[in-house]
């Protein structure tokens, strides 16, 4: 697609942080705490005021109390005692949320690209520009030509605006690059996704199996709380992970599985439960179909066979399978969250779903609970205009069972000039270059677009490719829509500003409304202020905004979240152990195991994950959190280290099977990982000097993900399918630094 005249061929332009136009609310320096010879009194200090809200450093949305001091500066964040997701406790990221708020590197005002430079612009000018473009695109190609890529609670108003505009094409990387495989697998099996927060009754599990799910490094507050309660209650824990994670450190059995072979293990367990008659007969008889087909399909998968694939002792496979079955409905094989590993992920999570069904733990205590949510009517607006939404045909053709748009599809669509044309992207809170692999392709797509709007808090690399950059507020500076998820107890939480917006940042609800007004869509935004909107939404619940501002959360009553009579929204109305839907589309109706690719000699598989104080790239510039973890490390087994001749703490570069090199990264020599793989935390390796803390710290695993396998069922992109070795110099020795 040719660029419109007036805009030069898009090139990378490092976003300059111009002098702030708006008030700078005491953001000088990083000394968060006034010096004093007297001990600071914390929340008891005179003038301290707590504002209730909910967090968004990650996307769990725990309730918080944000404490401002007598000067109005946010100095402390604690967990909201009444919020069911925090219960008064908080993870390190949420606690250090003000590090994102007061980050001096934040984008300060709207920026417009003008040829080869940026120009600071007023909000009016920037919004006028975008609205004019959007109007032009709609006229020429139709509204569907504009896509919204988003992540985060604030996006809800932008989605509403886009639908009103007539552009239903939206995408969030949280589908194909995170939970998509799991949700697709569970929908195929049980008729519904696992959801977020997950409907797993961790706290009451008596036998918990986690495959790669590194709770403890993954710090979803409530889940860690429940995990700890389960440990206290004596849960038998089995962790299947090539790496000795924190969770593995608490396990009764740590199975250091060969990466990529989890499906073999799951199929062996399924076969064992059926073969030895240990599955939950009553439950399966009442609620499942396809047992016979399943039995036949898994017949070859004996524990001895599984050993040849996974390296796990067959006697151990048997004993774990038997104990799992013994615990039955209070045993839980956790389905994970980020499940896009190898490209066969829907099938792998299908096996997890099937195994859980054989245990009979749907709707049971210790299994998958049936949450409830408060029904809050939407704010009344006219129905959205009809849309062709022909774009989705392409997605469905390629990935028949995707119910969301895999974000990389938008990239391919633009690059391959597919019809209908997509000529513009609105990107909200989404770090595209870090979300999915092959950054170069994304850049090429960005170059071809007529309109790129990036709404962001921080000057991430992506902003350098935009036409317009709009400074978003952090969650601490704004109202947002109500949060009322499905949970063990239904509740509704309010997000409200704790401090005034820093610099000239504005919230997404305001941006959406202003664009809507300019596009003639005021009937979709009939409320003048966000308070008006929230008051109206709370009213049917018998709540007032004033009350919610004070309390922060309202918890409803519900019966215990278990049921003896679960219902399933599958075509058969039952749990589909054998999936007709998959068969009809030409996929394996019961998962079939295929061994993973082997690394070339001298190469190891690259695995990625988290560290507890960060939320991937969202926090690597947060100086408070960076104090503990400023950079990532590559975990290398002691034996491998000896062979390579590297020592703990030395810096090396990794090079993958396609010859792509990483930036320097510190080596962690450890016993905690198999010799055939390496591990690093995702989100580091920033390459922009505008993010002064994160720039050049560690390396980006994403750079090394050049070989991708797409899940044919729903389009997930694999993250564990690349192999790396240590870069050597001409003398054959590993290069340091």
């Amino acid at each position: 697609m040719k660029n419109r005249s007036g805009i030069n061929r898009r090139t990378f332009l490092s976003l300059s942080t111009a002098i702030a136009a708006g008030t700078v609310a005491g953001t000088a320096g990083l000394t968060m705490f006034p010096s004093s010879r007297q001990a600071k009194a914390g929340i008891l200090a005179p003038g301290m005021k707590a504002t209730a809200s909910f967090c968004e450093v990650c996307f769990w949305k725990c309730g918080i109390q944000a404490w401002t001091n007598s000067e109005g500066r946010l100095v402390q964040i604690t967990g909201h005692p009444a919020h069911p997701l925090s219960n008064g406790r908080l993870c390190p990221r949420g606690t250090a949320g003000m590090g994102n708020l007061y980050d001096p590197d934040r984008i300060r005002q709207p920026m417009l690209r003008e040829g080869d430079s940026w120009r600071a612009a007023s909000w009016e000018e920037a919004l006028d520009f975008i609205a004019e473009r959007m109007g032009a695109i709609k006229k020429r190609f139709g509204a569907e030509s504009l896509a919204l890529i988003s992540h985060g609670h604030g996006a809800s108003f932008l989605k509403h605006m886009m639908k009103a505009y007539g552009a239903p094409v939206g995408s969030a990387p949280s589908f194909a690059q995170c939970r998509g495989a799991r949700e697709t697998a569970f929908k195929l099996t049980y008729g519904e996704p696992v959801g977020s927060p997950e409907s797993t009754d961790l706290e009451n599990s008596s036998y918990l199996v986690m495959l790669g799910y590194h709770l403890g490094e993954n710090m979803h507050n409530t889940q860690v709380q429940e995990f700890a309660k389960a440990i206290e209650r004596g849960v038998e824990l089995v962790v299947v992970d090539p790496r000795f994670s924190v969770a593995a450190g608490k396990a009764k059995h740590w199975l250091p599985i060969k990466p990529g072979t989890d499906l073999a293990l799951l199929l062996a367990w399924i076969r064992l439960l059926i073969d030895e008659g240990r599955y939950n007969r009553d439950f399966v008889a009442a609620h499942c179909i396809g047992l016979e087909e399943l039995r036949q399909a898994v017949a070859p998968y004996t524990p001895e066979w599984a050993y040849t694939q996974t390296g796990i002792d067959p006697a151990l496979i048997r004993s774990i399978g038997r104990r799992m079955a013994m615990h039955g409905s209070s045993a839980l094989v956790h389905p994970g969250r980020k499940t896009n590993w190898y490209g066969d992920d829907t099938q792998r999570v299908r096996a997890v779903a099937i195994l859980n069904a054989l245990l009979g733990n749907w709707g049971t205590k210790g299994g998958f609970f049936r949450g409830s949510k408060l029904k809050i009517p939407k704010y009344p607006t006219p129905p959205y205009p009809p849309s062709n939404y022909t774009f989705i045909k392409h997605v469905v053709e390629r990935f028949p069972l995707a119910d969301q748009v895999p974000t990389q599809e938008l990239v391919d669509h633009v690059l391959e000039h597919k019809q209908p044309p997509i000529t513009g992207w609105l990107i909200y809170g989404t770090d595209l270059f870090n979300n999915f692999p092959n950054k170069e392709k994304t850049i090429n797509a960005l170059k071809k677009l007529d309109l790129v709007v990036v709404i962001e808090t921080h000057p991430i690399e992506l902003t350098g490719w935009a036409d317009v950059v709009l400074p978003d507020t952090t969650y601490l500076e704004r109202y947002d829509d109500l949060h009322a998820p499905s949970w063990k107890k239904p509740f509704v939480a309010l997000r409200q500003p704790v401090v005034a917006p820093q610099f000239d940042s504005r919230p997404a609800w305001w941006i959406a409304r202003e664009l809507a007004l300019r596009l003639g869509l005021e009937e979709y935004f009939p409320w003048k202020t966000i308070e008006e909107y929230l008051e109206a939404r709370l009213q049917p619940l018998g709540l007032t905004l004033a009350d919610m501002k004070q309390r922060g959360v309202h918890v409803g009553e519900a019966p215990p979240p278990y049921t003896d009579t679960p219902r399933f929204k599958t075509p058969s109305g039952k749990i589909e152990l054998y999936s007709e839907t998959l068969a009809a589309k030409g996929f394996d109706p019961v998962p079939v195991y295929h061994p993973p690719a082997e690394p070339p000699p001298g190469f190891m598989r690259l695995l990625v994950g988290r560290v507890p104080v960060h939320s991937f790239g969202r926090t690597t510039n947060n100086r408070m959190l960076a104090e503990i973890t400023p950079e990532n490390e590559v975990w290398l087994n002691t034996i491998s280290a000896r062979e390579f001749g590297v020592r703990h703490g030395q810096r090396v570069r990794l090079v993958n099977q396609d010859g792509v090199k990483s930036d320097p990264i510190k080596v962690k020599v450890t016993q905690r990982i198999r010799p055939d793989c390496v591990y690093m935390a995702h989100g580091f390796g920033r390459k922009t000097d505008k993010l002064k803390q994160a720039n050049g710290q560690g390396t980006a695993d994403n750079d090394l993900l050049t070989r991708i396998v797409e899940d044919p069922i729903m389009g997930g992109t694999s993250t564990n399918t690349n192999f790396v070795t240590l870069l050597k110099g001409r003398n054959g020795e590993v290069r340091h630094g």
């Binding site: 503990i628 002691t638 020592r647 703990h648 450890t670 016993q671 905690r672």
Partner: protein, 316 residues
Amino acid sequence: MNELTSTRNNPLIDPNLSIWGADVALYLFLGGLVAGIMVLTGMYFFLRGIKDDTPAFIRNAMLASPILLSLGMFFLFLDLENKWNLFWFYLSFQVTSPMSWGAWILIVIYPVSIAMIVLANRDRWWVNWFPRLAERVAPYWKGIALANVVTGALLGLYTGILLSSFTARPFWNNGVLAPVFLISGISTGAAFMILFHDGSDIREKEELGLMKLGLILSEVVALLLFFSSLLTSAGNQQSSVFLVMGGPYTGVFWVLVIGVGLLLPLLLQSLEILHRIESRFMMPAMVLAGGLALRAIVVHAGQVSQSVAALQEVLP
């Protein structure tokens, strides 16, 4: 295999303790030197009486001691982080704190050593400038001399007691550190005094030479006891010896403390006694250098010592 990671990275604490450096090492050296001078000069007067005219080298050394001590205390003052609160040392006495003892000892040293200076220089004009000062002090000469020996010994010992009380730092934590410091201090005090000796009085020179030899040998014995004490204590103490036997301080310890500070002076002193050579400057200078090196190594190695076990695991 033990993999221990910590999120703590407090300046001066991590990766190993580094709170005390050159300031403290210099003070320890100067304090030990003054202690040695006071013990030796005090004993001289206690045994010889005050009738004879005090030899110049003794008088000069005694004059130097309050100046050297003030210099040492200045370095100590530099080490304090909260210098304005210095006076709090003198508004309390903490009976369990060797540092509190030291604060008071340092104060007491001044009148005691000045009294000695008055006694030794009672014929000089600048003493007689204060009317009847010498007369008033003279009758107490024996007590003053004894007081010099005792306070000098306390000065020389208390720093060793202070460091050796820290069970947290195995290299320091043994009973022989205090005597090592005292003997080293007396040895450096003697070396300092010899620097002022012009060598004219042969008999005096010989006596001094023998005394110096005895002191060097005493220090060798003290160090042997120091190491045997560490090597026969718990594992932490045994590991801490590694710091000077293969670890990072090995070179400086064996070259400066043992070689330059003890063995070479021993050789030179022996040769001098046998009338083979003359060494008026070299030998004392070496002893002083060795004394300073000893203090510096003890200060630094002790702070590293807790993590010595970790050091050994990480080094190839």
